[in-house]
Symmetry: C2
Subunit: 226 residues, 2 copies
Amino acid sequence: MSHINIESYFKDKLPFFNDLSESEVKDLISASYIQKYNKGELVHSKNSACTGIVVVLNGQLRSFMTSNSGKEITLFKLFERDICMLSSSCVYQDITYDINLEAEKDSSVIIIDSKFFKEISSNNFSIQNFFLTLTQDKLSQIMWVLEQVVFFSLDSRVANFLIDQYYLNDSININITHDTIANNLGSAREAISRMLKRFENDKIVELSRGSIKIIDIEKLKFLSSP
Amino acid sequence: MSHINIESYFKDKLPFFNDLSESEVKDLISASYIQKYNKGELVHSKNSACTGIVVVLNGQLRSFMTSNSGKEITLFKLFERDICMLSSSCVYQDITYDINLEAEKDSSVIIIDSKFFKEISSNNFSIQNFFLTLTQDKLSQIMWVLEQVVFFSLDSRVANFLIDQYYLNDSININITHDTIANNLGSAREAISRMLKRFENDKIVELSRGSIKIIDIEKLKFLSSP
């Protein structure tokens, strides 16, 4: 992705770009850099310093919350063109939570250092507006996750997860461990293994080491809608 | 509360008030009215039209999410001076979730009709900023709820809930049904009843019809911290 021109990419993707002065554009560009991450690499952890804004050029990233005991739950995923604000507390205001972000596939992102926003956001209406849209968007996604966790049974959530993987990778063969599914759904590996075993007995999937083969997508869809 | 002067109350409580023009203040006041709700009354349901902004004068309100099957979970509570944006989609942008709000005690609130914000928010920096703060605040609260649901065991969550009630009402006698606790925690009544029965066997609470008496607050506190 080294041929990417950050300025013209931003012009196209950042809604507040056209409201920046020439010198602000210069500051924005000098606060931005392209970064590559290998699959599995951590882009940001809840303990790291201000990362700033992440604009996804390609690949797939997963944002998640962790407990002290190491349990995880996925909050949202980011794909090409998606934008995410990390440690927004550094950028903007007091936020009392923090999230982790990891590359689920090899990924390239543009990172806009938080210092740019710190300087400019206090009086720029369109950046403020941009932050509001990002925050509302994340609020919607977190509400969706909460709804799933509280109101949907584990079988419907596992079914839903497998269907997502099927569409994401366009394949009935899903290379994933039970542990990874548990970490996505905020569940325990044992519970996921039991559920998948039940799916296998019901002839919905076939299980092998590190991989799940969907053999009845219709039954999965039926399970996923409560 | 009929002696409340809305204008001076707003001047004191709304961070964007001083940035309004004289005619905008006039519009704000004419879009605002005081409303009283009895305990148990619904202020806003996910199916109702744009309520706007709610500013709590006194009382206690509960915001919650419901499932199609009637299950509930509390998202946050509002007390005196708290401000909440309802159906922000009407006010501002596309939001893909919706919440319910009910009075948990007899309450008085000022409602600012959404039409005021519709007209003014598109170019007012401080209202934009106010919305951003409200949204970030709600995001933090929802993240907290999600964390509780996913990472904490039910006994610790019930213990935590009882401790909250104890401090809120300054009494070891809590008048509440098992059903209401279940609706607060996004759990089932049966699960709550079993847990309370266990607490009773462990001499932490005493149960009677419609009421729970805390007899060992230290043990409750121990349970609530995982």
